[in-house]
Symmetry: C2
Subunit: 339 residues, 2 copies
DNA sequence: CTGAAAGCGCTTACAG
DNA sequence: CTGAAAGCGCTTACAG
């Protein structure tokens, strides 16, 4: 393997000069700079990452801690992951993907062994167990998802409360007075999936003030159960004219359900979902939806994390960045049918 | 940070003794071993990964190189990734996820900087550009996907040729004589997606020998185009009684298409797909399908890679492991309707 | 503007 | 059974 010693020898300078010529951390005469550059090109030198990490206490690696639950919608996770890895590379970092089921010990292991300069946590729960080891870690972190207490850590998430309000308001404006909200399964909530109740509670509150009837249900996250659930909700509320979906599987299953019931969208039923643009495209979901923006959230989390690693972020202030919901209009919302 | 020097001091031994006590690489008296263990527990010692990598030339990291194309079916990729990361952890490795669009230079960068002990490549193409730098890399590799020339590298893939034959044979056995095979878009083939023509060619050959008419089409990989494509194929071949799908998007879109045409499965139309069990479950796809087994392939690739890293695999022999296709029966195949 | 040297935290021959 | 020392490949004060 070619080392900086080889570069120095070929260039006819000392190792320190070679190092400085490469890092630019002190002024080097043009002639020497050129000789070093030539030697690097000739030998094909790349610094040894482990040696550099040992000398600088910097790995240029960030650790991405995912949590992959059987009962959650796996396909959506990849978008977050790619947002993180892509943005990290742009900023000069590689990404260690950690999928250990025991996130707490994985976090300790990575942190204590100094394999990474910082952490991005995905799928953060209301009382996420990983926050305690994270707070005592020596590396900074950024969360995707909003825990109950994000003190001392930067957090990035969709503003699910505003999303719930927006869904109800849009329906109300158009004249809808009875809506059904379909959430993720209840055990997602029990596990700490705060986004579920943040959206649902806000939607319920807004509905109450607007005089809109809102029926809220938890529903399955996979077929065929979700199809049955949707039929049951529609059977139970024949006068409902709008569906709000905070459940990807429900969105994927709905076209078949509505078709079987001969309900046209938006003539008979208006629908607003909450899922990513990629998800909509992949499955051709024909519903207007609030973009959950996984790519954007991943990128933001990394950007902020890197500013912490570099020490450019304000050490005393931590951000909670809730991105405002935007409805991608796919034409699935209109005035309710007149009776 | 706590180092092995701290452990040695607290245990009252030398650093080398502390190191040996932890690695077990030479015999240590029980008393000393206990003192070292106590010191580790008391101090909460974890070895510094960079320092260890520098001393041993081993990182205990594998690099996973993905290729994520806009026009391929992204959700399926996560299953491969998790197969790799999970199995790697079981074997004591962490995983660096590399999603650079320029896989060639990413490979060089990781290899030359010695950030990883080996590589797993996903989505390997017929003439994959990454194979050249891989062959000159000092670390071993395992491929998921079968290139035209896998000499000197281990490769793991579904046996797509056998899959094509199996699909045709199953249909033929039940009496079908006219089939439609729907492949991925043609540009996937042009890019080197050999699995597309491996399945298609084998299916065509088997159909020819069995006297079955097989109409082969490339089709879109997303909605709404794929829905239109499917309708066009069915319009063009009204006597076809069986559909073979080597295209996930087609499988996802087919239920709506068939319902709109009032075709029941399997009474009017038999269907065999090729996608993962997870994919089937997530989207409730009701078709019998050959399991593409992404999780298994990822795990196998890692296992073999680790045996190469450890030097336990035979250095002179490289494996091409094509897993045999298995049809998960979901009841979508039956005898054709009598006319 | 450049060089010799120390040090990052490990592991592992070498000696005893 | 254990210790002192060298070395892995970098970076960066310290000196000039």
């Amino acid at each position: 393997m070619v080392t900086i010693g080889d570069v120095a020898r070929v260039a006819g300078v000392s190792r320190s000069t070679a190092s400085y010529a490469l890092s630019g951390k002190r002024t080097i005469s043009p002639a020497v700079r050129q000789k070093v550059a030539d030697a690097v090109a000739e030998l094909g030198y790349t610094p040894n990452a482990g040696a550099r990490a040992l000398a600088t206490s910097r790995t240029n690696v960030i650790a991405l801690l995912g949590q992959f639950f059987e009962d959650e919608f796996a396909p959506a996770m990849l978008q977050y992951i790619l947002g993180v890895t892509d943005r990290a590379r742009e900023l000069g970092f590689d990404t260690l993907l950690v999928s250990d089921s025991d996130g707490v010990s994985a976090l300790r292991r990575i942190s204590d062994s100094r394999m990474a300069d910082g952490f991005v946590l995905l799928n953060v729960a209301e009382n996420d167990e990983r926050l305690a080891p994270l707070r005592s870690a020596s590396q900074p972190a950024a969360l995707v998802g909003l825990p109950g207490n994000s003190e001392g850590i930067d957090a990035f998430d969709l503003d699910f409360a505003a999303a719930g309000e927006l869904m109800v308001e849009r329906m109300h404006e158009l004249g809808h007075r009875e809506l059904i909200l379909v959430s993720q399964p209840e055990h997602v909530v029990e596990r700490g999936g705060a986004y579920v109740w943040r959206l649902a509670n806000a939607a319920a509150a807004r509905a109450a003030t607007l005089g809109v009837t809102l029926h809220h249900y938890y529903a399955a996250s996979s077929q065929p159960e979700i199809g049955k659930d949707l039929n049951a909700f529609l059977d139970a509320h024949p006068d409902a004219t709008g569906l709000l979906l905070n459940n990807e599987a429900a969105a994927a299953a709905l076209p078949n359900v509505l078709q079987a019931r001969s309900l046209a969208v938006p003539a008979d039923m208006s629908v607003i979902g909450r899922y990513s643009e990629t998800f909509a495209r992949t499955f051709s979901l024909p519903y207007s939806a609030i973009d959950s923006a996984p790519d954007l959230l991943g990128r933001r989390a990394v950007e902020h994390l890197v500013s912490r690693i570099d020490g450019t972020a304000d050490a005393d202030t931590h951000v909670v960045d809730l991105i405002a919901p935007i409805i991608d209009d796919r034409g699935s919302v209109a005035a309710p049918p007149s009776r």
